[in-house]
Structures are given as C-alpha cells and as structure tokens.
Symmetry: C2
Subunit: 223 residues, 2 copies
C-alpha cells in the first residue's frame, strides 16, 4: 500500500479513538465545553470533521436536559428530510418508546404545498402540528430540522400561535437563502428549548447526529 | 418577526438563488472551476455551506465524463450508508435505468463481518464485488462512499486484485481514523476514475450530493 500508513484500530474501537482525537484537538485549541453539551458538540464534529461546531452550536438553558427528558418519555422526532430520518438511530429510539417521522414525501403534504404555493417543508410542519400539536396526540415532540429554513420559520409561527409546543427544536438547516435568518428566529424564542447550528452550516447529518448524541446518553445504551 | 429580515424567494426559486450566491462568492474568492467539475463542486457547497470543497474535491482525468457515461447506461450505485442511499435521487436514477444499494444493514453482511472480525463496511464491499464484480452481473458500477474508510480501503484492494472495476469511485468518508489515508490510497489509482474529498471532511450527504450533481446533468432532468 505504498507509503500510506494506516492506523491499526479494531473495528469496535474506531469510534472511541475518534472521540479521543476530537477531545485532544479541542484541548489543543483551548476549547472548554460545558459538561452537558460536550457529547453533542463532539458527535457533531465526529459527523462533519468540522471543529467550527465547537463555537456554532447554541444551546438554550437546560436544552439538553429537556431533550433527554422528552426522549425518556417516548418522544416523537419530526425531521424535514428522509436523510435525517435514515440517520437517526430508530432502534435506540424505539427502545425508549419513541418514533421518528418525516412527512416530506407524503402525498397529502405534496398536494397541500402545491395548492397553497408553499414549500413541502412548510406543509410537513403543518402536518406535524395537526397530528401532535394542540388537539392532537399528546406526546413529547422534538423537531430535528437539517435542511429547510422554511420548515424552521413555519415552526416558529406555529409556536407563536400556540399550535404546537415542542420539548426541543434542533435547528440545523444548511444553505444560503434565509438559513441564517431562520435560525436567528429560533434563537429569539424564550419559552422553547433549542439547539441551533448558528450560521449557514448544518445539514441532515448534523440534525441526526444531535438526536443520536442525546439518545446515546440515556441509560441502556450499549454501542 | 422582530428585526430579522427574510429574503422573498419563491419555493421553486430557492435552489437557483442558492447556486447564484455560491457562484458570486466563488468569484469573489477568485476561484475558477473547470467547466465539467463546476456543477459537482457547487452542489457539494450547496449541501454543506462549506467552500473548502472548492479546493478539496480532487477529480481524476475525465472522472465526470466516466460517471455520466455509466449513469446513462443504467449504472448501479453502491453506498456505505443508508443515509447516503436516502439522499440519492433514486427516482431520477431509475429513469435512467439505474439502481442504488446499501448493504450495511443486511443480515449476511453483519454475519460475515462478525465471523471475520471486520467492519460491516468492509463486508458490504465484499458483497458488492460478489454481486457486480468479476463473474457477477455485468453493469457499470459507481461507489459512493461517505462514511467508512474501511470500505474505501477494501475497495482499493478489490480493484488491485482485479475483482471489481468500477466506472467511478466517489470517495468521501468523514472523520479521524484512517479517513485521510483511505482517500490518499484512492488517489494513487491509475486506471480507475475517482472524485475524492481530500482531507478529513466528507459525509453521506457529500457522497449523495455528488451522485445527484451527476444525475442532474444528464438530459431529461426537470427539477
């Protein structure tokens, strides 16, 4: 294999070794993470190899605690992409009595979006509010938004209108049009917990990684 | 909505406007992209909001051409994550007669990995070689590796052993253990086309974005 030297690490040890490297490099950069936030920040860096998340992830007070409590009670996670849905550890979520949904490809969401001239992402948040908001099934609800700023903006409005009261919003759309603004909007919420990837960066992978970082902290998880 | 000002863009215009912004910023940075590589680099930036991909994506000669030819002939795309699989536009791929697979969660892959003490990623590459390599179904094959360096390293070995001859390798694992090395290994291949995200960065989202950037360039695509 030419001059390329591979590190000898057992399959089962790769993740542990990765987190060790991340920890070492964070220390070398002089970054000190809050104890409750550290697993989430580190898993996001693990997923992206991008250390800017050590600065960009913004947590509302007790956000991690709120997220963990909701998951312990068998929460519903709503994502705005099927990629995000694929990335969430649904087996682990199910072991806690939870479920994850993405409504983006649903026929009724597509039809509503077309009829009203909105994005499907917005229509998918409407569906979430209809199902799990005021008057719907009473279950703790987490939103994991990794793609569409329009989803996040509409979620803000649904909260302001009192139609839904999520336990936690993971706000990590990525991109260039209204992405930064959509996250700043969530950061203005005073009675809703959030973990927001401030700026342009984020993604379905980031949203899923944050969900999994929460899931893996709860008792009963063996990797 | 407080002082946060949203840009007024029609849903159908968001992607076009995003690519415009990316183009403007690349120009402001003085980056000039090769014509055939530009759609791939820009879509990767669109997916990640990370302009470092303008420097980090390494193309072997005629890689884009080779990828497009394979897709036109109804290629098989093999990915190493279900997230990557979720991100690939499978409807578009099917319209060209192609199919995408991820073998990571397959029972036989899990068993083989456990029996041999390898990663499942490695075992999933073995399965791909059994199905579509020498002696298997004769179809152009693309690999879109967005997670596991062990997949990429094993793919290198399968190629060296003459067991498989992919039309294109998209090499974009992300992370800290053997990730950089696995990509450098692919860059040493002389008779295999590749698009490699050099360095630690990459991801299932990046691998899927590169597949889609290829798919969207072929005739018959209407967004």
């Amino acid at each position: 294999m030419k001059q390329i030297e591979l590190e000898q690490v057992l399959p089962s040890e790769i993740e542990r070794r990765s987190f060790e490297i991340i920890q070492e490099e964070l220390e070398a950069m002089g970054k000190k993470l809050e104890k409750d936030q550290a697993p989430i920040i580190k898993r996001t860096i693990h997923t992206t190899a991008d250390f800017s998340y050590a600065d960009n992830l913004i947590f509302s007070p007790h956000a991690v605690e709120k997220g963990l409590e909701a998951l312990k009670e068998g929460a519903v996670i709503i994502t705005d992409t099927n990629m995000g849905l694929a990335g969430i550890n649904k087996k682990r979520l199910a072991s806690l009595g939870g479920e994850a949904f993405c409504f983006m490809a649903d026929k009724d969401v597509e039809e509503k979006a077309r009829a009203r001239g909105t994005t499907r992402a917005l229509a998918s948040m409407e569906k979430a509010a209809d199902l799990f908001g005021r008057g719907g099934v009473s279950r703790p609800i987490l939103f994991a938004i990794g793609n569409a700023p329009t989803a996040l903006i509409h979620l803000y409005q649904l909260i302001k209108e009192g139609r839904i009261a999520p336990s936690l919003i993971i706000g990590a759309p990525v991109g260039f049009v209204n992405v930064v603004q959509s996250k700043e909007l969530i950061l203005t919420l005073e009675h809703t917990s959030y973990i927001v990837a401030r700026g342009r960066k984020g993604g379905s992978n980031v949203a899923a990684a944050i969900c999994n970082a929460l899931l893996y902290q709860l008792p009963g998880y063996n990797q």
